[in-house]
């Protein structure tokens, strides 16, 4: 079936699919740079003749998006740092040390993968309330720290480290911490990079939890900021809405385009697959 016709069919299908995935980005971008009058004109789905950044200025004027951005960065890096801090030692133990019930205990981490925090918002709200952390950035961070997914991925990766490397490091006098730092983590770099990206993208995306656990702008993150912003807009000011949308999406799209190739390569070669 590697005939010329078959090949053209494949390219055509893939091109159409790519258009479908890319065109919504195009609309978002052109709307964001259009003045309201242009949007209502006949050629509103074409690129703006006179691009303007007015919409962005109005967005920043209407809601503290820079504060949201700062909060988002604090929250996503906080989550990632704490996840790695608590999960790396655990993954090391599960991958490399034999002890009774290790399978059952590891099961607690695997089950957690299947019970998303979103399903547990009601009881978790009560936990955070009891801890007195409602409306803090810490409340946006803590529930996500015990990541079963991270434990699962790192355990798989640590298992693949050759025993001979470990043995020679032990002979050189390495302790557990030394082993993790000098043997396991360097070899786990691709997995760590992929997990870091997934974690950042996931928590950049968090909406439900920030919605219920925050109630003022000083701790809100971008996604929830956009949600609130949208609800306070009366009427459909598409230029404004799309500027806000572009602002919360842009950093992630740029990050992805920058690391695209290496991300996809390591995604496909690391344990993150079926």
């Amino acid at each position: 079936m590697f005939t010329r016709a078959g090949k053209w069919v494949k390219y055509t299908i893939l091109t159409i699919a790519s258009l479908i995935t890319l065109v919504p980005f195009y609309f978002t971008a052109i709307m964001a740079f259009k003045a309201p009058k242009q949007i209502l004109s006949g050629r509103y789905l074409l690129p703006p003749l006179h691009p303007t950044v007015d919409n962005f200025l109005r967005v920043f004027g209407a809601a503290p998006f820079l504060t949201y951005l700062l909060n988002t960065i604090i929250v996503v890096t906080g989550i990632l740092a704490l996840q790695l801090l608590v999960i790396i030692p655990a993954a090391y133990v599960f991958a490399r040390i034999d002890f009774p019930f290790s399978g059952a205990i590891f099961g607690l981490y695997v089950i957690q993968i299947m019970l998303p925090l979103q399903a547990l918002i009601v009881p978790n709200y009560r936990v955070i309330n009891t801890l007195g952390l409602v409306n803090t950035r810490l409340a946006l961070i803590l529930p996500f720290v015990g990541s079963g997914y991270c434990a699962f991925l790192l355990r798989q990766t640590f298992k693949q480290v050759p025993q001979s490397l470990v043995d020679s490091a032990v002979i050189d006098g390495c302790t557990h911490f030394g082993l993790i730092r000098h043997v396991f983590l360097p070899l786990a770099k691709p997995t760590l990079a992929v997990f870091a990206l997934i974690s950042v993208a996931t928590h950049w995306n968090d909406y439900l939890w920030p919605l219920i656990i925050t109630d003022n702008d000083s701790v809100r993150t971008l996604t929830i900021g956009l949600g609130m912003f949208v609800q306070h807009q009366s009427g459909a000011d598409w230029g404004l809405l799309m500027a806000g949308t572009l602002f919360i999406t842009g950093p992630l799209v740029l990050l992805f385009l920058l690391v695209q190739r290496s991300f996809i390569e390591s995604f496909m070669s690391s344990g993150i697959k079926g």
Partner: protein, 297 residues
């Protein structure tokens, strides 16, 4: 394993020290919440009751007799099935296609890109695309001479509209998982199938698809979980409406908890959600049985 490093009691001290921090987080934000929501699901707890009152199974019974609850459950099932099946099918087809053409990295990248869009942004983008008058989708239908659709504003299409936006966002991600699976299939198998005279379709039906079983299981489990998390789109695109036509379990739970502050009933819904998730995941693993044992080792 690590010999001679820490003999005897020391070993268990190390294990405990290394595990306790993460176990503490899991306990506090996953396992204690599960237990506490099952516990509270047997109580009436709302703004009108000072202290939760034990009511036994009453919350559950009330939901069973509530048609809205069943509508929400039905929506949830429709939502899950109608997102999972097309997403998986598209992902599989595009993985196979991309594997066989040049320009792989361009197509991979562009099909994956929607995955990095936050749901809040996705919701806004699609609210615009679906806009009944100036929205590009209806314009396009109009251009083709087809009747336009009310999309988010109509109870017939609101759920479907959300589903389409989910498929758009996620199929590229699952395609990547399938592509990773495809790299593990030996080229020899295709060559021998070709020697045996198998057509392109048959080679994929009898070699690719069975061997991608573990990827399929992974994709299936991930998408089930996805379908229970789809709160953002529902809240920003339709607020569950019109009526309850696009409300799903997570949104319904949110309403009980944080609109009506009926924590007892919200806990009942949470418990039902946990039970459904556990049931579905067990079902998925049972279905693929042995295959997963080598995958999870």
């Amino acid at each position: 394993m690590i010999p001679g490093l820490t003999p005897g009691r020391h070993k268990y001290l190390t294990i405990a020290l290394f595990l306790l921090p993460s176990l503490a987080f899991l306990g506090l934000f996953t396992y204690y919440p599960i237990i506490s929501s099952f516990y509270l699901s047997f109580f009436r707890s709302d703004p009108f009751t000072v202290k939760p009152i034990f009511v036994g199974l009453q919350n559950y019974i009330e939901f069973i007799h509530n048609p809205v609850f069943w509508q929400v459950i039905t929506n949830n099932v429709i939502f899950a099935v109608a997102t999972i099946l097309p997403t998986m099918l598209l992902a599989l087809c595009f993985a196979i296609l991309i594997d066989e053409v040049a320009l792989k990295s361009f197509f991979r990248g562009s099909l994956f890109l929607p995955k990095v869009v936050p749901y809040a942004a996705l919701a806004m983008i699609w609210v615009f695309l679906y806009e009944p008058n100036i929205g590009p989708i209806n314009r396009f239908l109009d251009l083709l001479g087809l009747p336009t659709i009310g999309w988010l504003g109509s109870s017939q299409s609101s759920l479907l509209a959300i589903i389409i936006s989910m498929i758009w966002r996620n199929f590229g991600y699952y395609m990547l998982i399938y592509l990773a699976g495809l790299q593990n299939i030996s080229r020899d198998l295709y060559d021998s199938a070709r020697v045996d005279g198998a057509s392109w379709l048959n080679r994929h039906l009898h070699v690719t698809i069975p061997l991608l079983g573990p990827s399929t299981l992974f994709v299936f489990v991930v998408s089930i979980i996805q379908s229970f998390k789809a709160f953002t789109q529902v809240q920003l695109m339709t607020r569950g409406g019109p009526g309850y036509s696009s409300s799903i379990l997570i949104y319904y739970t949110y309403e009980f908890a944080f609109k009506f502050w009926k924590m007892g009933k919200a806990s009942t819904l949470t418990s039902i959600m946990i039970l459904m998730l556990i049931f579905l995941v067990i079902l998925a693993f049972g279905f693929y049985g042995r295959r997963i044992t080598y995958e999870m080792k």
